[in-house]
């Protein structure tokens, strides 16, 4: 019963919003009614525009995620395995890490100019950090017993890394990648808002500056959709991998079969 009410709750909020707009309590010039936003989503012209811009945003997100994820993975693995390298690099990373990622945008504009490369680079910078931290911690948390066993069994360092350390740190890496994906979407949109000529972020800002409020709100809705799509696709892929290779991404327990 309560679950039903909970599911209808968002709908109720929308109804309240609509009626407030109709009654004139909210200024419909700035906050259009949900019906107006919906109309904007369905109208072929603006819908096509939105889809187009969403494609740009998603491509940038993907580019940043792949580049940043790869950088984070590489750096995290190296720092996790090689203590000396980690110690030497740590102060530099500790200086770079707290810089808010959007503060990098002007620097990226200097080097890459305005365009796709800049947006992708900023997204990559932002999403390299969570992956780096997660992978480094995961590598360090590998059970020493496993490493010792590998050494006793006569595995060379390279093989031990490939067969023991890598699989053992995979679950941590996947968690870091999931966090990074959300960050990639957010930062791609941020960089579009500040410096770009297309993408959802740019569309939302220009639409709200040029008195096309329904379009701006529709773009915001599309941003939520883009974030949701990314998260869903990631979870789907993860479940796919888990089904074909059980236990690869973390220990799984069936209900009632806990050891």
């Amino acid at each position: 019963m309560i679950a039903q009410v909970g599911r209808l709750f968002p709908l109720g909020l929308l109804l309240v919003w609509e009626s407030l707009c109709r009654l004139g309590v909210i200024d419909a010039r700035f906050v259009p009614a949900p019906s107006a936003i919906l109309a904007c989503l369905v109208t072929p012209g603006s819908a096509g525009d939105l889809l187009d811009q969403m494609g740009h945003t998603l491509l940038r997100t993907l580019g940043g995620f792949v580049l940043g994820g790869a950088a984070g993975l590489g750096l995290g693995l190296t720092c996790g395995v090689c203590r000396r390298f980690d110690k030497a690099l740590l102060p530099l990373l500790e200086i770079l890490r707290p810089i808010p990622s959007v503060a990098i945008i002007p620097v990226a504009i200097l080097f890459l100019g305005l365009g796709n490369g800049m947006n992708v680079a900023v997204a990559a910078f932002a999403c390299a950090w969570p992956v780096f931290v997660a992978v480094r911690d995961a590598v360090r948390a590998v059970d020493p017993l496993l490493c010792d066993t590998a050494r006793i069994c006569g595995l060379t360092q390279g093989r031990a890394f490939r067969l023991v350390v890598l699989p053992a740190s995979l679950p941590g890496a996947v968690t870091g990648l999931h966090t990074a994906l959300g960050i990639a979407v957010a930062v791609a949109i941020s960089s579009e808002m500040v410096a770009s000529s297309d993408g959802l972020g740019h569309l939302a800002i220009t639409a709200s500056f040029s008195h096309r409020e329904p379009l701006a709100w529709a773009a915001v809705l599309a941003m939520g959709l883009a974030g949701g799509i990314c998260s869903l696709v990631f979870s789907f892929l993860r479940r796919l991998v888990e089904r074909s290779r059980p236990g690869l991404l973390g220990v799984q327990y069936r209900k009632g079969k806990r050891p």
């Binding site: 909970g6 909020l13 110690k87 959007v102 503060a103 979407v185 800002i205 709200s208």
Partner: protein, 252 residues
């Protein structure tokens, strides 16, 4: 020698940067010395400190709003099954919204100004806090509540003397996640909107005062570091009793 090793990395990076900027010869890459002197100039004439003060003000106000909204809501959702069933669908609908998505609506609703910055930062920082509070509330050991109840504690007393301390470590984790998000979103809204360090960086870049721009980026990095360090200091002072913060014996 081993204690100096961390410095070697920094020194190597600085030398590399110096060499690269000499070799490139563009004004896009000033030498470390130029950046340092620009940093000192900006600090001495007060520009940087004023801008950082504004940014930090927006960040902390937004965080305050997020805490006062997200934590009670999260605790309520964590402790009461009814609240969870009621509010989870709405939360799941709003959650995929990336934090910067709130900037255009806030701009239209509130115009530019502190209210808008604080709203956007508050929204962005709210979700990590809400989720952490919900998890902390759900992970409350039931015996604690039962004991308190059987000893005759009232509802208010249970909330303040049992639930709050039990959830504090979880909330601290949420706050640690929310802090960088809040700072990033504060800088972003300032870039789109009007003042603070975000605006300063963009203005310096557009007027081609590159060393000053780098100095401002470094200033923001320092601000972020100071916030994180301050939080972890507070955590260690307040939560010294929590298992996660107790100093572990050195590993063999």
């Amino acid at each position: 020698m081993t204690r100096l090793r961390p410095l070697i990395g920094l020194l190597a990076a600085a030398l590399l940067w110096e060499a690269a900027s000499r070799a490139a010869g563009t004004r896009a890459m000033p030498t470390p010395g130029e950046i340092a002197s620009a940093f000192v100039d900006l600090v001495l004439n007060g520009t940087l400190l004023r801008a950082l003060g504004l940014t930090l003000g927006h960040t902390t106000l937004g965080l305050g709003a997020a805490i006062s909204l997200g934590v009670p809501l999260g605790l309520w959702m964590g402790c009461s099954r009814t609240a969870r069933a009621l509010l989870t669908p709405t939360m799941e609908l709003v959650r995929p919204l990336p934090p910067p998505a709130l900037i255009p609506p806030a701009m239209l609703l509130l115009g530019f100004g502190p209210a808008m910055y604080v709203t956007v930062v508050g929204f962005a920082a709210c979700f990590p806090l809400l989720l952490a509070a919900m998890d902390a509330g759900r992970a409350m050991p039931a015996p604690l509540l039962d004991t308190a109840r059987s000893l005759g504690a009232g509802r208010l007393r249970i909330a303040t003397r049992v639930i709050a301390p039990a959830c504090l470590p979880g909330l601290a984790t949420g706050l640690r996640t929310a802090l960088p998000v809040a700072l990033i979103v504060a800088v972003l809204t300032e870039m789109v909107g009007g003042d603070g360090a975000g605006r300063l960086i963009l203005r310096l870049q557009r007027t081609w005062r590159i060393p000053e721009m780098y100095a401002c980026v470094i200033g923001l990095g320092l601000a972020g570091w100071a916030l994180a360090a301050g939080l972890s200091f507070l955590e260690r002072r307040i939560l010294f009793w929590a298992p996660a913060y107790q100093r572990l014996p050195p590993q063999p």
